[in-house]
Symmetry: C2
Subunit: 77 residues, 2 copies
DNA sequence: CCACATTTGTCCGTATGTATC
DNA sequence: AGATACATACGGACAAATGTG
């Protein structure tokens, strides 16, 4: 027992909470893969896996060469 | 045009279609990672990534040591 | 227009842990 | 005790898009 939460789940939940709390607003840019990996003390691969899920859930949108942005803005579709 | 679909997306969509078509019924066991990787001609890592998304969407449920099963059965929650 | 750095996106292989049989 | 199978984590490699000089 004492189920340890997986790292990528923690990243997903933390960012999700920040969005729902309004700390990250629609259209706003998230940190890069490398920065998130550094902040959460995980590898870039793990940070990518977390963002992949957030993309799949429609919470964020990634744009190659630019960055990852919070979805929900009227300008994003 | 000619949008090249990512391998893991193709796996996700194929399995999703099979479930929605009733080809894979709730409670039924899916092939193993290795078998799926072989069928779709992708690596095990890619097959895992696809199943991770299907789990995240609640379409399937994984059980360590047993296998991955189609969700929606009254016995699965 | 071209070269370069940055950043996201995808894919692969491997290692380790945990649960089941 | 050993084999099988899912779950997580890491690192490396390459492509594609963007922005800058």
């Amino acid at each position: 027992m004492a189920n340890r939460t997986a790292d990528y789940v923690r990243v997903v939940e933390t960012i999700t909470a920040q969005i729902r709390a309004g700390e990250l607003k629609p259209g706003e840019k998230l940190p890069t893969y490398a920065q998130l990996a550094d902040q959460f003390d995980v590898s870039v691969s793990t940070a990518q896996a977390a963002l992949r899920i957030l993309r799949d859930r429609g919470l964020v949108e990634g744009h190659q060469g630019k960055g990852t942005y919070v979805a929900g803005s009227p300008e994003t579709p």
